[in-house]
């Protein structure tokens, strides 16, 4: 389930991006320290493989709906957590760009939700301990199912948190959780089966390949469970802290602070630079002399009436009519600009004639 820009507030988006970038930097450092140079093309091509495999669909037995490979866990099993995280991040980046799967701000969340949990929780804490003693097909299946399950549940829960903390959705926490977790249970079972299936297939068909990749893997053994749990907790606390701070100081999160930066709410006192210029320009040209930044009042109105639901009808129709009128005009204006540019562009540029 890809998180989407439209559901995010800048605070949440930026916080998770920070965590994701930090993890990318950490993984890069780890890989570089222990690099077998062969790993570079190996990671790249396996990433492309995940991409191609994700596009293959199959029918989930008995349901008629289709499923596909997520890939995080398979990557972690094959490449080890650090390399897997980097590869997952690059796969998701390409998806965000070429398929607009979620968007660029949400990319931070998506890398986190789909990359971090399988690589740093599911694989080292669940898959590895189970398979450590003897890799029978059954054990691989069980380990994959469990690890994928946990990774996906955590990912889904993160989606819930990110969405709710952003405050764009009205879904109550409980409903949202009840919606997301079971869906991901189903997805998890399917993905677990596929993950195990592919690992087992390769193990049967070309054991030497599996062995040679896992041999290449940088530092698979020295991931410390305690360290991961600790890091995870710290990150979660920081994230939670920042986000809840924003959330509590203002229901609208970062937009509040952005408003400060942009100076909208306190405009009259804080006008400087361009804003000032514009204001003077406005006054000079008497564009709309009595124009007051109406927005400001609207905003306050919203706030107060949020608490008293019945106070609403006092919104004058006038505002909404002018809003709609303005919107329509703005849109037509923008479209005109578009066509204008198109027409100008289409005009052949006159060739300068060379003096003979």
């Amino acid at each position: 389930m890809h998180m989407s820009d439209a559901l995010l507030s800048p605070a949440v988006g930026a916080t998770v991006w920070a965590g994701t970038l930090g993890t990318i930097a950490y993984c890069s450092k780890k890989i570089k320290e222990n690099l077998d140079e062969k790993m570079i093309p190996m990671m790249g091509v396996i990433g492309a493989f995940i991409f191609a495999a994700q596009m293959l669909n199959f029918t989930i037995p008995g349901t008629g709906s289709s499923g596909h490979l997520g890939g995080g866990m398979i990557l972690a099993i094959l490449l080890g957590p650090h390399a897997a995280f980097i590869v997952m991040a690059s796969v998701l980046t390409i998806q965000a760009l070429f398929f607009a799967d979620g968007g660029l701000l949400a990319l931070g969340c998506n890398i986190w939700n789909l990359g971090f949990y399988p690589c740093f929780i599911g694989y080292p804490l669940i898959y590895k301990p189970i398979v450590q003693k003897g890799m029978s097909s059954k054990k691989i299946l069980m380990a994959s199912l469990l690890a994928v399950f946990v990774g996906l549940q955590l990912g889904a829960f993160s989606v819930v948190l990110e969405t709710l903390l952003s405050g764009r959705s009205e879904l109550p926490f409980g409903t949202f959780v009840l919606l997301m977790q079971p869906i991901h249970l189903a997805i998890g079972v399917v993905e677990g089966f596929i993950t195990a299936g592919v690992i087992n297939f390769v193990k049967a068909a070309r054991p030497e390949i599996l062995k040679s990749i896992t041999d290449l893997r940088p530092l698979s053994p020295d991931i410390k469970v305690k360290k991961i749990v600790l890091t995870f907790l710290i990150i979660a606390m920081i994230t939670g802290g920042i986000v809840s701070w924003f959330a509590s100081s203002n229901p609208d999160g970062l937009e509040w602070s952005i408003e400060r930066v942009y100076g909208k709410t306190e405009l009259p006192e804080h006008e400087t630079g361009i804003a000032m210029l514009l204001k003077t320009l406005q006054e000079r040209t008497a564009f709309l002399p009595d124009y007051t930044f109406k927005k400001k009042e609207d905003l306050k109105e919203q706030k107060t009436s949020d608490s008293e639901a019945n106070a609403w009808p006092n919104v004058e129709t006038g505002t909404s009519v002018s809003g709609i009128l303005g919107s329509v005009m703005m849109v037509s204006f923008i479209v005109l600009i578009g066509f204008g540019i198109k027409i100008i562009r289409k005009k052949p540029i006159p060739q300068r004639e060379h003096p003979v």
Partner: protein
């Protein structure tokens, strides 16, 4: 079939990014930075904002026009893409039923307002991501990120991925085709065939990785990938960034739509 489509779309976007227009010629850094600024500004609007978002449509429209990007192609992609936001957003009207506005005489609940706000944001952010990739070659974006300080290893992975997605997708496409031709409409055949396909693909992938590694070694590869980097940041980038920055600021700080609306009302009265 679905797979074909996705692959083609990928190819179209990729081809678009190699056009040669004013927008395409901008330094990739300029476009990456302004795109992010645009997205953050758009999502920074509060839940119930609609009018304030409208002026932002100017950005995609200008880029569409300047970059000579096929509008319908991108719009179709935005519409079919990731429905998650829409799915979550459409639940808002169920939970938030306070009457927020009167549209003429119809009452409009806050849930609908916030849902439309989500839709608008969705449209704007999706467009901007797709426009970034259709006006900037992917290697260009990667080099921009490198210059902006993103770790080397991540960048080299992105570049490899970009290169081999096309190779592997084509290979997969041919395998799927071969399978389909002998399936006679029995769709999918479930998990076991799927695993065979994916497993086979994986084995081929690894063998390919080995060969690529040979090729790299035979050209002196010792662990780092070097590039000849061209400096491209020029006057036009500076102008583009400033204009975009100022416009974003104005659109965020001032109620342009209200202004125009009231102006119009005044004219009509």
């Amino acid at each position: 079939m679905n797979f074909d489509k996705e692959y083609f779309n990928l190819g179209v976007l990729d081809t678009l990014s190699y056009k040669n227009t004013l927008v395409h010629r901008l330094d990739p850094r300029t476009k990456v930075i302004t795109t992010f600024a645009f997205i953050v500004t758009v999502v920074s609007f509060p839940k119930y904002e609609i009018a304030g978002l409208i002026p932002f449509l100017l950005f995609p429209v200008v880029i569409f026009a300047l970059g000579d990007i096929p509008v319908w192609f991108i719009l179709k992609k935005v519409l079919v893409v990731s429905v998650f936001a829409v799915f979550i957003g459409i639940l808002n009207p169920l939970f938030d039923t306070h009457i927020k506005y009167h549209f003429l005489t119809f009452p409009v609940s806050g849930g609908w307002v916030s849902f439309f706000s989500i839709l608008l944001k969705f449209f704007l952010t999706m467009c901007s991501a797709l426009l970034l990739i259709s006006t900037t070659s992917f290697p260009g974006i990667c080099h921009a990120l490198r210059k902006l300080g993103v770790p080397e290893i991540f960048i080299s992975q992105l570049l490899f991925l970009y290169r081999y997605i096309f190779v592997l997708m084509e290979e997969t496409l041919r395998m799927v085709r071969a399978k389909d031709l002998r399936s006679f409409g029995k769709k999918g055949q479930g998990i076991s065939i799927f695993i065979n396909l994916v497993g086979t693909l994986f084995v081929k992938t690894i063998e390919r990785a080995e060969r690529i590694y040979h090729a790299m070694l035979s050209r002196g590869f010792t662990g780092t990938i070097h590039f000849v980097l061209k400096e491209g940041f020029g006057k036009k980038d500076f102008v583009f960034m400033s204009v975009t920055g100022i416009t974003l600021f104005i659109f965020r700080a001032y109620d342009i739509v209200g202004l125009i609306g009231r102006l119009a009302e005044r004219m009509f009265n």
